[in-house]
């Protein structure tokens, strides 16, 4: 427990002897002496060091830990059900999201209108399904684009940061860009842009949301890259004369990949929440498209069935994604909470 970086093991001497050809190194035998065979499994002083000794690849370990968590299974099952519902639901349901049935306006769930009709005579179940489709596309698309933007800015800023004077200036510029985007009230700018751009297509929502969501991830990635650039293996690659671009793709990205995966997963739910909020106040997805936010917009506080279905679907969607993301995070960093007290 004394030093977290201390992952040397006592098995070292014995393992060395076992795996080293004594002919090639005659001095070694004398130097190491006749040590007793050590217990397998090595380093009791540092528990997090254990995973390094076990001959499991990191990916395998992650997968195992992930699948062991019940919340991961819950998340995956709910998410899969919702996706199936979004894909096949509208095919079998008799009402479309824009069909008006004004005679039944503001009536509760019935045999024909499974979840009721809102005050404009629109079927809530049909609209919820359609909204789910759009929300899913926007959520996933935005998350990927956000991660890509963050990766590009974060890695470049982190990598060039200690490359001389110009590198520091470029890094400073990117950091200030990140700060600027953080200071800008992004909600207001989204409200400005969204109606204008959506005159072309609702898919504009994806780059728009991504454009105001990459900053915090980029900041983290920059810090991580800075740490990696200082590691000796990146330094070694530099001293071998390896091209910086190759260094980035071969050494830096693989080492932050797991973090990016987690962040992308959680980014899906963040994007869905953002889009919902925006659509709710009327600046998100515009007619003739519906998202869960626009369905929610037609709420009527005296008729709970007008808002509970879209809210429940939305909550199930976001919760399932967050469950998967959290399980991934726990799998990656199981010792995050080991405390001394």
């Amino acid at each position: 427990m004394t030093n977290p970086q201390d992952i040397r093991s006592t098995g070292d001497a014995a393992q060395l002897r076992a795996s080293t050809d004594p002919e090639a190194n005659p001095v070694l035998g004398a130097a190491v002496g006749d040590t007793n065979t050590s217990t397998p499994g090595g380093d009791p002083e540092n528990i997090s060091g254990l995973e390094l000794i076990e001959s499991l690849s990191r990916g395998e370990l992650l997968r195992r830990r992930f699948l062991r968590s019940t919340s991961a299974w819950f998340g995956m099952i709910i998410f899969a059900l919702l996706v199936l519902m979004a894909v096949f639901g509208p095919m079998i349901y008799q009402y479309g999201p824009f069909e008006r049935d004004l005679r039944n306006a503001l009536t509760g769930p019935s045999m024909y209108h499974w979840l009721g009709v809102n005050e404009n005579g629109l079927d809530i179940f049909a609209r919820t399904l359609q909204g789910l489709r759009i929300s899913l596309v926007i959520g996933i698309g935005t998350a990927f684009l956000t991660s890509f933007l963050a990766l590009a800015v974060g890695i470049v800023a982190g990598y060039v940061g200690n490359k001389g004077k110009w590198g520091a200036i470029a890094d400073g510029g990117l950091v200030n860009l990140i700060n600027l985007f953080l200071v800008i009230p992004s909600l207001l700018l989204l409200m400005l842009f969204s109606p204008v751009l959506q005159q072309a297509t609702w898919l504009w929502m994806i780059p728009l949301l991504a454009g105001f969501a990459w900053m915090l991830t980029a900041r983290v990635l920059r810090a991580m890259t800075q740490q990696l650039v200082r590691t000796e293996y990146v330094e070694a690659a530099r001293f071998m004369g390896v091209n910086p671009l190759i260094t980035m793709t071969r050494h830096i990205i693989p080492n932050i990949a797991s973090w990016i995966i987690i962040d992308t997963t959680l980014g899906v739910s963040a994007a869905i929440l953002g889009e919902t909020g925006l659509s709710f106040i009327g600046f998100g997805i515009q007619y003739p498209q519906v998202s869960l936010g626009t369905v929610l917009q037609d709420y009527n506080i005296s008729a709970p069935y007008t808002w509970i279905p879209p809210a429940a679907v939305l909550a199930a969607l976001v919760i399932s994604i967050n469950l998967m993301g959290e399980a991934l995070r726990d799998a990656l960093d199981p010792t995050s909470g080991s405390s001394r007290l």
Partner: protein, 330 residues
């Protein structure tokens, strides 16, 4: 310390200025207030001369180059004049006056919500970390998880619906909409009581949202502190677990929280937007929604300036807090 704060303050002022300018230019180039004022389908075309005059006095004439309009707006900004509102409303209400009446309404929400939310979040997060895996930890972590998975409108709907159910059941409930009751005499005891009651639900919503994210951050930083060497030293000195945490751990755990605080106010602003919309408060949030919907360039820019200043103040406050807590950055 003073040097540190003043440098940070200067950076923030520059950032706020750039952000506001950026927003003005965007709004001015994307919006078409003239179409709202004089819709193309207007029955009787307005004489060109009159229209130009109208647009010029409001500094929204699309025929004037964008940067000239920007320069005009900047000139006004220096004089403390943010222009007048546009839109269908042809009475020239100065944006400044509009903001002046609305800011107290919104700020009441934001400040109360943030303060209560932060305090609650810090306490919950710390307790959850110290009593890890206890019932309280599990409950608060789960609650935070669910709250963070719900968009603000849904939280508001849940709170309102609960209130409605209580009202239906017992006949007693909190006012669902409006911050003040115009029927009651202003300044009277009744009116103040109504105002306080009206404040409860919106504050609950904002405080819950803030507390959920704060408790998570606080839990993480507290767990870091719990694993630190200095806390072990403090215990080796003879402090019990709880006293070591209070005397050495709490202050260290609060240091990184300062940075989260700077962004929390931005979050509270978006939260207050929904609250104002759904509780029908005539605050900044409602104003900006209608301003953008009606292509009110000056009004939008004014609100952006207000949020930028708000962020600036909270970021400076966060830095100040950090400087006070941590001697290393002084």
């Amino acid at each position: 310390m003073i040097r540190f704060i003043s440098i940070r303050l200067l950076t923030y002022v520059i950032l706020a200025f750039v952000a506001t300018s950026f927003a003005y230019l965007l709004a001015a180039s994307l919006m078409h207030p003239e179409e709202v004022l004089y819709p193309p389908a207007a029955t009787e075309p307005v004489p060109h001369q009159t229209a130009q005059l109208y647009l010029n006095t409001r500094n929204i004439n699309p025929d004037t180059p964008l940067f000239e309009r920007y320069a005009n707006w900047l000139g006004g900004l220096i004089r403390g004049d943010l222009g007048v509102t546009t839109g269908t409303n042809k009475s020239m209400v100065p944006v400044f006056d509009e903001l002046k009446t609305r800011i107290p309404i919104s700020l009441r929400l934001i400040v109360l919500g943030t303060v209560i939310g932060t305090a609650l979040g810090i306490i919950l997060g710390m307790v959850a970390a110290v009593r890890r895996d206890s019932l309280g930890d599990r409950a608060s972590t789960l609650l935070a998880f669910f709250l963070l998975s719900l968009p603000t409108p849904v939280i508001i709907l849940i709170v309102q619906q609960t209130n409605q159910l209580i009202m239906d059941g017992t006949g007693w409930g909190l006012p669902a909409i409006n911050p003040i009751n115009p029927l009651l005499e202003a300044g009277s005891w009744e009116s103040i009581r109504y105002q306080i009651k009206a404040l409860v639900m919106p504050t609950i919503v904002l405080a819950l949202a803030a507390a959920a994210s704060y408790s998570r951050y606080m839990k993480v930083t507290t767990l870091d502190v719990l694993g630190s060497d200095y806390l072990r030293t403090a215990r080796a000195k003879g402090l019990t677990r709880g006293r070591a945490m209070n005397r050495h751990g709490l202050r260290m755990a609060l240091i990184p929280m300062g940075q989260y605080f700077a962004f929390a106010v931005g979050g509270a602003f978006s939260g207050s937007l929904f609250v104002e919309l759904m509780f029908n408060w005539q605050g900044i949030g409602r104003f900006v929604i209608s301003a953008i919907a009606m292509a009110d360039v000056n009004g939008t820019a004014g609100v952006v300036l207000y949020t930028a200043i708000l962020t600036l103040i909270s970021a400076t406050f966060a830095d100040f807090l950090q400087g006070a807590l941590d001697p290393r950055i002084r």
